[in-house]
Amino acid sequence: MKRANDPIFWSMFGAGGMLSALLGPVLIFITGIAVPFGFILPKSTLSYAHALAFAQNPIGKLFLFVVILLFLFHSMHRLLHSLHDFAIHSPKEKPIFYGLAGYGTLLGLISLLSIGF
C-alpha cells in the first residue's frame, strides 16, 4: 500500500488553521478596519515608515512570512479537498493547489528579503 505524503501538507494545514483561527480575525480588524479608518488605532500605525520597520525587524519579518506561508497552505489544502467534495478528481490537482500556495509563499519570501534587514 502506498504511503501517503499527506502528513507534510496536513501539518501545514493544521498549523495554518490554528494560526488563522487565533489571529485571522484580529489581523483583519487591525489591517482592514481599525488602522485604515483610524478607529481605536491611529492611521499612522501602518504608515510606510512603521510598516517598513516592522518588515525589517527579524521577528516581524518571520511573522509575516509564517502567516503568509501557513494561511496559503491551510486554505489550498482545504480547497483541494473541497474539489473532491464536488466529485472533481484530477492527477494534476496536487501540483496545482500546493504549487499555487508555494508560489505565493515564494513571492512573499522574495519581497520580504528584498525589503532588507
Binding site: P36, M76, R78
Partner: protein, 133 residues
C-alpha cells in the same frame, strides 16, 4: 478492495454525484466550514499584496493603503472578519475529534478556544493601542 471475501455477482450500484451535500443540513454545515478556507486564502492575498507593495517602495505601498481606505474595502473587511470569526468557531468545534482520548468535555475545548482567541485579540489591539499612543 480485494480480499478473501468475494462480492455478490449481480448488484446495482447507485451513482454518487457532486451534489450529495445538498440534501442534508449536517452536510451543508460541513460545506460552510470548508468554505471558510476561501476567505483565509483571500486574506492571505491581501497581506501578500501589502508585503509585495511594501517591497516595491513607498509610492506603491501608499497606493495599496489608499485602496484599503475605500468604503468597498471596509465592507469587504467587515464581511471577511465575520467569516474568519466563523472559521475560528468551526476550527475549535472539530478540535475535540483530533485530540487523544482525554477527560475534557468537547464543549469545554470549544469554549476555551473561542474565549482564548477573543482574549488574545483584545490584548493584541490593547498593546498596539498602547505603543501607538
Amino acid at each position: 478492495m480485494s480480499g478473501r471475501f468475494k462480492p455478490a455477482v449481480k448488484t446495482y450500484t447507485r451513482p454518487v454525484t457532486g451534489t450529495w451535500w445538498k440534501e442534508n443540513p449536517f452536510f451543508l454545515v460541513y460545506m460552510a466550514r470548508e468554505a471558510t478556507a476561501l476567505f483565509v486564502f483571500i486574506y492571505a492575498l491581501v497581506l501578500l499584496s501589502g508585503v509585495i507593495s511594501l517591497a516595491l517602495g513607498q509610492s506603491t505601498y501608499e497606493a495599496w493603503q489608499a485602496l484599503l481606505t475605500t468604503k468597498t474595502s471596509l465592507v469587504f473587511h467587515l464581511v471577511l472578519l465575520g467569516l474568519l470569526a466563523y472559521h475560528t468557531y468551526t476550527w475549535f468545534k472539530v478540535m475535540p475529534k483530533t485530540t487523544p482520548q482525554i477527560d475534557v468535555a468537547p464543549q469545554t475545548i470549544v469554549k476555551t478556544g473561542v474565549l482564548f482567541t477573543a482574549g488574545l485579540s483584545v490584548v493584541i489591539v490593547a498593546v498596539l493601542f498602547g505603543v501607538t499612543r
